[in-house]
C-alpha cells in the first residue's frame, strides 16, 4: 500500500447491520488521491443514473486523504460525497473538526454507508478491533449537534447531524466539533438513513515514506505561515469575517437577496467589529490547525458561542439587511445546533423576504427586521408550516412561488457571498463548478477581487483561465484532504506589504492579469515539488508529486464529476448564473451584469470539452477517466 493511507475501506450496510473492512484500491488512490476525488469515483461506480438521493440506493461516503492524520497544518479535514438531494447533481462537502483524525486513527481511509436503518442508529468504529457497533440512537434523535456530541463524549471524534438532518432539510449538514460539512445537503442524506452519528477511533499511526523530511519541512513551513500576513496575522486577528472590509467597498457583498453588493452598515458585522465588541477568544476549531480563524463571542442572552464566519455574516446579515452581529451570532448558533448550512439558509431567507416585498409569499419575515427569523429557522429545521417549503431550498421555492430571476442559486445550490458582477472569474466558477454555486471549489475571488493582487475583476483577461487552474488545484486540495485556506500562502508576504498604488504592485498586477497561458504552463509543469501541497504528498507517500501532477489529478476529478452530472441529465444550460447576476447592474452606471456568454466558450475549450460542455473522448483518455 502507498504510504499515507491506512489501506482500508469500511463498508457498512445499515439495513442488514453488517460491515466489512476491504482494501483501498491503490490505482484509484493514485488517480484520485482520496477525499472528494476518491469519493466521486466510488459514487460513479456504485450507483446507476437517476437514483433517489434520499432513497436507500444513495451511498453516503466519508473519505479522508493521505495528509489526514499527519500534523501538517490545516490537514485534518474529511470529505462527504453522495448524490445531492438539493441539486440532483454530485454532492460533496468538506469539514474540519476532528472526525478525519478519528477515522484515520481507526485505520479507515474511506467509510461507505449504504441503505437505510429502520430506526435511529449510531455507529461506533473501533479501528483496533476492526469492529463496528450499531447502537440505538432513539435517545439522541431530536437533539442538537452540540448536545449530541457532548453526550457521546467530547474526547472522541464524531460526525453527527441535528434536527435539520433528521427532517431531511435539503441543505442540512454534518457536524464535527464546531465545524460543518455544510453544502449540498449531505446531512439530509445521513438523516434519510436514520444515522444520527458516527464515532471513530483507534491507535493506528500514519506511516510516512520520509517522516524526518516531512517534519523538518513542516517545522520550517509552520514558521513561514506564522509570519505570513494572512495565515499568521489577519485571520488570527479578525477571522474570516474580516473580509467584509474588502467585499463591501468592492460591491460584492450580498445585500438584500443579492440585489446590491454594498451595505452602508456592513462594518457592524465585520471581523474587526467582532474583535472590538464581542470577541472572547480565538481558536482553531480544527485539530492540528495553527491558523486559529475560529472565534468565540459573548452574546447577551445567548452566552459564549462560536463567532460567525464571513459567509454567515454576509448571508444572514447584510443579505437580510440586518447588519447586527448579535442577531447574526444568535442565528448562526441556532443553525449550527440544528445542523444547517448558513449559506443556503441565508439565501432562502433572503429569497423569502424578496417574495414578500413583491407580494408573492408572506413567510412572516421582511428585510431589515430580525423579528420572526429565529422562529422561522426553527420551523425550517423541523419542516413546520411554511418552513417546510423553505427547507427545500431556493430553486424549489422559486418553482412553487415564482421569482426565478432573483432565485440566487446555480444548479440548485445557493450562491455564497461573492457577487459575481464584481468578480468575473468567480462568476465563471459559480456557473461551472460541479456542485453548484460555491466559492471553495476554486476560490478565484481571492486572486481576483479580495486578495492583495487586485487584478481588474471587470476585464475578460484571465477570467476563464483562472477558474480552470483554481478549480483543478482545489479538487486536489479537497482530496488530500487540506483546507483551501492553505492557498493563501501562495502569495508571498512581500506582495501583501506593497502599496496598491506603487509601481511594483501595478506591474505585478498587469503581468498576472495577462499571464493566462504562462500560468497554465507553470502550474502544469512536472519538474519538482515546490509548494507544500506537492512536498507533503511526496514526503508522505513516497511518490513524486509536482504542481503539474496536482493540476492533472484535479482536472481528472473535476472531469469525472462533470461526467456524473451529465449522466444525471445536466447540460451546458445548467452552466449559468441567476438572471439578476446576468442582467441587473449592482450600481447604476458602473457594474453591469456578468458577461458569462463571452467567457464560457474559452472555458470549455481550455477544459477540452466540446461546445455543449461535454468532455471529448480525447480528454477522457488523456486524463484516464473511465466512464
Amino acid at each position: 500500500m502507498i504510504r499515507g493511507y491506512a489501506g482500508r475501506v469500511l463498508d457498512v450496510d445499515l439495513a442488514a447491520r453488517t460491515f466489512t473492512f476491504g482494501p483501498l484500491d491503490e490505482e484509484t488512490a493514485r488517480l484520485y488521491l482520496g477525499g472528494k476525488g476518491y469519493g466521486a469515483r466510488l459514487l460513479y461506480d456504485l450507483t446507476p443514473a437517476g437514483i433517489d438521493p434520499l432513497g436507500p440506493a444513495n451511498p453516503l461516503i466519508f473519505a479522508t486523504g493521505p495528509l489526514n492524520g499527519s500534523v501538517a497544518p490545516q490537514s485534518n479535514r474529511f470529505a462527504v460525497v453522495c448524490k445531492s438531494p438539493l441539486t440532483g447533481a454530485i454532492g460533496n462537502a468538506a469539514c474540519g473538526g476532528s472526525f478525519a483524525y478519528g477515522l484515520k486513527r481507526a485505520g479507515v481511509d474511506v467509510l461507505v454507508v449504504r441503505h437505510q436503518s429502520a430506526s435511529p442508529v449510531r455507529l461506533e468504529i473501533d479501528g483496533d478491533r476492526s469492529h463496528v457497533a450499531f447502537i440505538d440512537a432513539s435517545d439522541l434523535w431530536g437533539k442538537g449537534t452540540g448536545e449530541t456530541q457532548a453526550i457521546l463524549g467530547r474526547k472522541k471524534h464524531h460526525a453527527v447531524i441535528g434536527p435539520a438532518g433528521e427532517h431531511q432539510v435539503l441543505f442540512a449538514g454534518i457536524v464535527s466539533d464546531e465545524r460543518i460539512a455544510a453544502r449540498t445537503g449531505v446531512g439530509a442524506v445521513m438523516g434519510s438513513k436514520r444515522l444520527k452519528a458516527v464515532t471513530a477511533g483507534g491507535s493506528r499511526r500514519l506511516e510516512m515514506d520520509d517522516e524526518r523530511a516531512f517534519k523538518e519541512y513542516t517545522k520550517w513551513l509552520g514558521a513561514m505561515f506564522r509570519r505570513h500576513p494572512v495565515l499568521g496575522d489577519r485571520l488570527k486577528r479578525v477571522g474570516t469575517s474580516g473580509i467584509v472590509s474588502t467585499t463591501n467597498p468592492r460591491n460584492i457583498l450580498p445585500t438584500r437577496n443579492f440585489k446590491y453588493g454594498h451595505h452602508p452598515d456592513a462594518l457592524n458585522v465585520s471581523g474587526e467589529f467582532m474583535a472590538d465588541h464581542a470577541l472572547t477568544g480565538v481558536k482553531s476549531s480544527c485539530i492540528h490547525c495553527p491558523v486559529t480563524c475560529g472565534r468565540d463571542v459573548e452574546i447577551e442572552g445567548v452566552g459564549r458561542v462560536k463567532g460567525p464566519e464571513y459567509e454567515t455574516v454576509a448571508l444572514l446579515g447584510t443579505n437580510l439587511d440586518v447588519p447586527d452581529l448579535t442577531r447574526v451570532a444568535e442565528w448562526n448558533h441556532l443553525a449550527d445546533e440544528l445542523g444547517m448550512d448558513t449559506i443556503s439558509l441565508g439565501a432562502v431567507l433572503g429569497f423569502a423576504m424578496e417574495l414578500r416585498e413583491r407580494g408573492l409569499l408572506d413567510a412572516g419575515v421582511r428585510f431589515g427586521d430580525p423579528a420572526g427569523v429565529s422562529d422561522l429557522i426553527r420551523d425550517i429545521a423541523r419542516r413546520n408550516g411554511l418552513g417546510n417549503d423553505l427547507a427545500d431550498g431556493v430553486r424549489r421555492m422559486s418553482e412553487k412561488y415564482g421569482g426565478r430571476p432573483y432565485a440566487m442559486h446555480v444548479k440548485g445550490l445557493e450562491l455564497s457571498a461573492y457577487d459575481p458582477r464584481g468578480s468575473y472569474a468567480q462568476g465563471v466558477e459559480y456557473a461551472t463548478t460541479n456542485r453548484g454555486g460555491c466559492h471553495v471549489q476554486g476560490a478565484s475571488m481571492y486572486m481576483e477581487s479580495t486578495g492583495p493582487l487586485t487584478i481588474n475583476p471587470h476585464s475578460l483577461h484571465l477570467k476563464a483561465d483562472l477558474p480552470v487552474v483554481m478549480q483543478n488545484l482545489a479538487c486536489a486540495i479537497n482530496s488530500m484532504v487540506l483546507c483551501i485556506f492553505t492557498t493563501y500562502g501562495m502569495l508571498p508576504g512581500f506582495i501583501h506589504r506593497l502599496s496598491p498604488s506603487s509601481r511594483t504592485h501595478r506591474a505585478l498586477t498587469a503581468v498576472f492579469e495577462h499571464s493566462g497561458p504562462l500560468l497554465r504552463l507553470a502550474l502544469g509543469a512536472k519538474v519538482a515539488p515546490v509548494l507544500w501541497f506537492e512536498k507533503w504528498l511526496t514526503y508522505i507517500t513516497g511518490e513524486r508529486f509536482t504542481a503539474g501532477h496536482l493540476q492533472e489529478i484535479g482536472e481528472r476529478i473535476f472531469t469525472l464529476e462533470r461526467m456524473y452530472n451529465l449522466r444525471e441529465g445536466l447540460t451546458a444550460a445548467d452552466d449559468t448564473l441567476p438572471d439578476r447576476m446576468l442582467f441587473e447592474p449592482t450600481f447604476p452606471g458602473t457594474t453591469s451584469g456578468h458577461p458569462l456568454h463571452l467567457l464560457l466558450p474559452r472555458y470549455y475549450a481550455l477544459r477540452g470539452w466540446d461546445r455543449q460542455g461535454v468532455p471529448t473522448a480525447r480528454t477522457l483518455k488523456r486524463l484516464h477517466v473511465s466512464v
Binding site: 474570516t240 467597498p249 474587526e272 471587470h458 483551501i484 498604488s501
Partner: protein, 87 residues
C-alpha cells in the same frame, strides 16, 4: 457637488465615524486630500492606515482606470479598501 467617503474600520475608529460627505472633490485625489484633512492632527495616522489601502469609486478600484486622477460625479462613493481573505 458632493461625494461620500467611506472609511475602513480602522480609519473609522480613529475618526469616530465610518463615512462622511465631502463637497468640491473633482477627482479621487481631491477626495483623499479632503478625507486626510478631516483627520487634522491625526493626519499621520491617516497616512499609516491608508498605506496599504486601495481606493474604489462605486465599488471599482481606481487602479484599474485613471488612478487618483479618476473624475468624480455628484453622489459617487469613494471607499478605502483593505485586502483580506476568508471564505
Amino acid at each position: 457637488m458632493s461625494v461620500t467617503v467611506e472609511l475602513t474600520y480602522e480609519l473609522g475608529k480613529a475618526l469616530g465615524t465610518s463615512r462622511f460627505e465631502v463637497a468640491g472633490a473633482a477627482t479621487v485625489a481631491d477626495a483623499v486630500r479632503l478625507a486626510r484633512e478631516r483627520f487634522g492632527e491625526q493626519a499621520l495616522e491617516f497616512d499609516r492606515l491608508t498605506r496599504l489601502a486601495a481606493v474604489s469609486v462605486n465599488g471599482v478600484l481606481v487602479t484599474h482606470g485613471r488612478g487618483l486622477r479618476t473624475r468624480l460625479s455628484d453622489g459617487d462613493r469613494v471607499s478605502f479598501v483593505r485586502a483580506s481573505a476568508g471564505g
